[in-house]
């Protein structure tokens, strides 16, 4: 039960991060290797914001929730305008270019923020003890072991992630912006012919993808700590999720994030974390080899 809840926290954050990666790949056909660094950027900005604003931690947290995605999005738009656009979104050149961006962001964080991992105070945190059933001396009885509890903040993370995902889905399926993005995804040339400013859509999408990663990072940073190398694991996991879910399929991505996040929480109870990571990466590589369209995606031409 606890493993499932902890898994759900991981899964909801992962879903947000992976959705950003999937969106960028789906619409722009760009593999953004620097995606994890936008996640890191979100966490680091959250730390700066929450420490520079005095008062109740919730104020700083809310400010971070607004500012971090904006900054990450702005940086991403800049990357799109300065680099991706100038290599005409050539797949290999963008990969090499975003690897460069990865190191620039990561090492800049090292220079400005420093090598320490720093915690951000959660806006609220109550321990909620979970009951556990066990045969005691008087038969079946409830008791509340110390380790078996979850903080209210973690529940909030799950709720927040779900509402962001819903909002995102509404934007994509019900608004004009969403329509334009889907049109660009389906056929770039035709969209261009119908007067859609494809270049601007690309910038928006790239910025939005980075902002989603940053948002996920702000949510997770009171649980984990902000560190300049923290972008590595989310990147790898998001890759896994996006591949399993089918490249560019939003529904598949969310489904796969739940699957991976939950099973990560549950498996790591039974196996050592390193071993479970080895199995997961190998499995994903094999999925990509034998079923390149993903478990959920349609076959691409």
């Amino acid at each position: 039960m606890l493993a499932i809840l902890e898994g759900a926290v991981g899964a909801s954050v992962l879903a947000l991060t992976a959705l950003g990666l999937s969106l960028v790949f789906g619409v722009m056909r760009v593999v953004n290797v620097a995606h994890g660094e936008f996640f890191m950027l979100g966490a680091v900005v959250a730390w700066f914001v929450s420490t520079s604003i005095a008062g109740h931690p919730a104020i700083g947290f809310l400010a971070a929730l607004a500012i971090a995605p904006l900054i990450a999005g702005a940086v991403a738009v800049l990357v799109d305008r300065l680099i991706l656009k100038n290599v005409a979104y050539d797949p290999e050149a963008t990969i090499v270019g975003t690897i460069g961006v990865l190191y620039i962001l990561q090492q800049s964080a090292l220079m400005i923020y420093g090598p320490e991992a720093r915690p951000v105070e959660p806006p609220f945190s109550h321990r909620i003890a979970l009951p556990w059933l066990e045969w005691g001396e008087n038969g079946l009885a409830f008791f509340y072991p110390w380790g078996l509890s979850i903080t209210s903040y973690k529940l909030f993370v799950i709720a927040a992630a779900i509402s962001i995902l819903l909002a995102f889905w509404l934007i994509l399926s019900r608004t004009r912006l969403g329509l334009i993005m889907r049109a660009t995804q389906m056929d770039r040339e035709t969209a261009l012919a119908f007067g859609i400013p494809v270049q601007r859509v690309y910038s928006i999408v790239f910025g939005l993808g980075a902002a989603l990663a940053a948002l996920a990072a702000v949510l997770i940073v009171p649980i984990q700590q902000a560190h300049y190398l923290m972008g590595h694991d989310p990147l790898l996991l998001s890759f896994i999720v996006v591949i399993i879910g089918g490249l560019g399929s939003v529904r598949g991505t969310i489904f796969a994030a739940l699957l991976i996040g939950m099973s990560d929480g549950v498996i790591s109870v039974f196996l050592s974390p390193t071993l479970s990571k080895i199995l997961a990466t190998l499995l994903v590589a094999l999925v990509l080899v034998f079923r390149p369209q993903g478990l959920y995606g349609k076959k691409m031409a």
């Binding site: 593999v31 460069g100 090292l110 590589a285």
Partner: protein, 314 residues
């Protein structure tokens, strides 16, 4: 001079110059250059796949690490002497690259990059997982006494330099010769137009397979050489960073040129050496170089020279 004599002169001249440099250089730079030569061997291996065949792998560190661990563990735990240990390293790298190639070559383009990245990641994690033998992140040191060939101690700077140079020279001459043979021409054909090469009746898959194995084995030879010459084996060499490095070196030096890898490694090595004196965030330089290369000089240093002044450069 004909094209062939020119390129033979260039390669032999380069090797001769490097032999002379060994006597002239002060010990500090001699050590640096030995390291550069071993890493350049790695880059030469990478260039076979990326530069000539046009396949971008993001997981070459696994081949480097296979050579390194194969050789290093044989010496460290098995008590094997240097030469057989090197052979074991080579066999490990060749076997791993054959397996990876058979699976990964079913995919193309972006999927190929991600699959190689994933395989390399699992090799890296395996090295960490088997920490009991591999020492995990900290790695292990190969005893100085065992690092010698026929009485010549590889710990001596000059001997080490020439051992590194021989390794590099062998790799350079093999690849330079290979690219003049029809086999190499077919690889370039695959890079330029895979469909057309297939139409001409060549077995594209088998050529790609051979390219991965040759490339991986040379990378493994560099890894094994590194273990023997510098006496240290660690999981860092299997990490993503060491898969990115050869890409960076080859791009910088010039993909698809024979001497590009060496130029790229030497340039990058001294750039990072210089930068790490100023800041501990020296990988920032690597990132900036990658971005600048993708934007302005897709052909790299030697490639730009070839495009502008010397079209005969091999």
């Amino acid at each position: 001079m004909s094209l062939d004599t020119r390129s033979v002169t260039l390669h032999l001249g380069l090797i001769a110059a490097l032999i002379v440099l060994g006597f002239v250089l002060p010990t500090y730079h001699q050590g640096n250059l030995a390291r550069i030569l071993v890493l350049a061997t790695y880059a030469v291996g990478y260039n076979v796949l990326f530069g000539y065949t046009g396949l971008l792998s993001l997981g070459h560190a696994m081949f480097f690490a296979a050579g390194m661990y194969g050789c290093g563990l044989a010496m460290h735990l098995g008590g094997v002497t240097v030469i057989p240990a090197l052979v074991i390293g080579l066999i490990c790298a060749a076997a791993l690259s054959a397996v990876v190639a058979l699976l990964a070559l079913r995919t193309i383009g972006v999927a190929f990059m991600i699959v190689t990245l994933m395989f390399a990641q699992s090799v890296y994690l395996t090295a960490l997982y088997l920490g009991e033998w591999t020492g995990g992140d900290e790695g292990f040191v190969i005893a100085q006494a065992s690092r010698q060939i026929a009485g010549y101690a590889l710990t001596d700077p000059l001997t080490r330099y020439y051992a590194a140079l021989s390794l590099f020279a062998i790799a350079l001459l093999i690849t330079a010769r290979m690219m003049q043979m029809s086999f190499g021409r077919v690889l370039i054909g695959v890079r330029e137009n895979e469909e057309r090469t297939r139409m001409l009746g060549y077995d594209v898959f088998r050529h790609k397979l051979a390219a991965v194995v040759i490339s991986g084995t040379i990378a493994g030879a560099a890894g094994a050489g590194y273990a023997v010459l510098f006496g240290y084996v660690g999981a860092t060499f299997a990490s993503v960073q060491y898969s990115i490095f050869p890409l960076l070196w080859v791009l910088l030096g010039g993909m698809g040129t024979t001497i590009g890898p060496l130029v790229g490694v030497a340039f990058m090595f001294y750039l990072i050496d210089y930068a790490s004196g100023i800041t501990n965030a020296y990988m920032l330089i690597a990132g900036a170089v990658l971005v600048l290369l993708t934007l302005f000089a897709r052909a790299g240093i030697v490639g730009e020279i070839r495009n502008r002044w010397a079209p005969w450069l091999p």
